[in-house]
Amino acid sequence: MSTVTPNLPPKREITTVPRFSDKVFRAIVTAGGLSSLVVLALIAFFLVYNGLDIFRSEGLKFLTGFDWIDASPEEGLPAQYGIGAMLYGTLVIGFLAVLIGVPIAVGAALFLSYYAPEWIKKPMVVVVDVMAAIPSVVFGLWGFFILMPHAEYWAKLIHKYLGFIPFFDMPAPAYTRSPFIAGLVLAIMIIPIVTSISREIFAQTPLDRIQAAYALGATKWSMIKAVVFPYGAGGIVGGAMLGLGRALGETVAVYTVLNLVYDIRIEVLLSAGGSVASMIVNKFGEADAPELRALMAAGFVLFMVTLLVNFIANIIINRTARKG
């Protein structure tokens, strides 16, 4: 028996139990992956924690009240904090932005998906991406100095010819820094995101249906109406809501082109509007401790509203994308 035993390494154990290194790896990755959940929870917690006094003392009046008055000890008046007017103003400019921006964005997405020749399509996709990367302070500067003079003129025309509609009525001839102009700037800011989401959803329209429509003699528009829109409706709605979420949270651009007034007005051309995010920046500089807490509470409301809008938008988009 002189067979040489080859110098084999010890047999490795075949097992499904993860090695130690994998356990460490998985623990680190899981911790990292869950940290964004933790951050979101911390944001909510700290804003509530700091704003708790205000929620307690103001109650529901915080959401519905119009007044934002600091306490004045010499007159013995308590502080009053209500973001009702600002919340209403935020919704008004958000809906204006969606009303103006979404049709243009969907049209542009249709153009990119079905109308544009290849040599226009590629650069224009890049251009839309570039637009999404423009910082909001740039939109503010441009909106204030370049768009505002034009928009003022448009507002005058709208008032002149459509003034009988209560929304376009003007109690005083002050056309600058109105919700209408803020809505225009926001519309331009949300166009890139709505365009790219609509385009992604349109791209998932089943090709056989498109070809079937054409084979039955449909024009391009009949095809879009019969195939693309029914399939992409969810994507358009979701994209619009995502745009709405952006518009509701926008701060700096709105602050530069909107005159903050603590009042609820339905005249969108008038130089008086509201925005929770802009109000926070506006009041932050000279806020004392109680007012700071009120701002934290306002931030929490804004956080919850945008989170809710984003949740719904993402659910709709994910559902549409899966169906396609």
């Binding site: 009949s222 926008e250 993402n314």
Partner: protein
């Protein structure tokens, strides 16, 4: 030399529009242009607005007329929608080109070597633009972006790895919340950092706090883009690694991450481009300064968006000019990041 003399056959391209088929469109465009010029010249409609409105109206009228007369009602609807789609595409492009043009024409005058080498500590706000500069703002922005990247890049990458590679129990939940997190208003991130860093821990303004706020906004961009990149890695690579007996850790570290490297760099740069221009959180966290501050964790600091904001609120003509110069430098910076991102994403094979 082969000398086959096959007859030259030109391929037929029946889908190519012939001149005869384009003719009605050309005719319509000509009618539109002529009638618009005529109407603007004759009626009191004036200016760019009057001209564009007339142009749109005329384009609609003639496209409907021509296709309606030549074909039927469906064709007329089709031309109306085509006109609207082209108008929408134009409306998307107009603001962008207007913004780029105005930034260039208003910012380029103030763009001298001096603004890259000096700060504002020795110049008053209403001094001519040739005095002072924005070096302090550039340095501040670089600090902010660097620290924000150091915080958010690992978290973003780990989040993407958790969703795609580890596929943990909460992967769907994490993915959903990261999607929602990208919609968190920037001002809320600033308020949060203020609540923790200033109110909670009693610190004062500094660049580190601003960077923490920016990191919150940067995580979702990095995480979502890296997730998409990791999904594009073919599963064969993963299986090959595991089949060779590698642990998951070795597979990810030695195979997946190197294969996805340029895409992951793109993800990080896109995140940087997203936060480099953020203004609102900085208003609550960095305090603002006119002099260079080389310590990001102590003392007030400035940043390019903050510089633009401050000069815009000062409101005198010199400040406004400074704001435009600041915007131009900021946009140059964002475009550099953006081009880098596209360069790296173009390098990726398979797409």
């Amino acid at each position: 030399m082969s000398t086959s003399i096959a007859p030259q056959v030109l391929p037929e391209k029946p889908w190519r529009p012939t001149f005869k088929r384009v003719l009605p469109d050309l005719f319509g465009a000509l009618l539109t242009a002529v009638s618009t010029v005529l109407i603007v010249a004759v009626t009191p409609l004036k200016g760019k607005l009057g001209f564009s409105l007339t142009l749109i109206a005329m384009a609609l009228v003639f496209s409907v007329l021509i296709s309606g007369v030549r074909k039927d009602k469906k064709a007329a609807f089709n031309s109306v929608s085509t006109v609207f789609v082209y108008i929408a595409a134009t409306f998307v492009l107009i603001p962008l080109f207007s913004i780029l043009y105005e930034i260039y024409s208003r910012g380029v005058g103030a763009l001298t070597w001096g603004i890259f080498t000096k700060d504002m500590s020795l110049s008053s706000a209403d001094a001519p633009v040739s005095e002072g500069g924005l070096l302090h703002a550039i340095i501040g922005t670089l600090y902010l972006v660097a620290i924000a990247t150091i915080i958010s890049a690992p978290i973003g990458l780990l989040t993407a790895l958790y969703i795609v590679e580890v596929k943990g129990r909460a992967a769907g939940l994490v993915r959903f919340f990261v999607q929602a997190m990208s919609g968190v208003p920037s001002i809320v991130a600033g308020l949060f950092i203020y609540a923790v860093w200033m109110i909670g821990l009693g610190n004062s303004y500094n660049a580190g706090a601003g960077a923490a706020a920016l990191a919150i906004l940067m995580i979702p961009t990095v995480a979502r883009t890296s997730e998409e990149v990791l999904r594009l890695i073919p599963p064969d690579l993963r299986e090959a690694g595991l089949a060779l007996g590698a642990t998951q850790w070795r597979t990810v570290a030695m195979i997946i991450l190197p294969a996805a490297r340029s895409g992951l760099i793109t993800a990080i740069i896109l995140g940087i481009a997203r936060v480099a221009g953020e203004t609102a959180p900085l208003l609550l966290t960095i305090g603002g300064a006119d002099a260079i501050n080389l310590n990001p964790f102590s003392g007030n600091s400035s940043a390019l968006p903050y510089y633009v904001w401050k000069n815009l609120s000062l409101g005198n003509p010199e400040s406004i000019e400074r704001a435009w110069a600041g915007v131009m430098v900021l946009m140059l910076l964002v475009f550099i990041f953006f081009t880098l991102a596209r360069y790296f994403s173009g390098k990726r094979t398979g797409r």
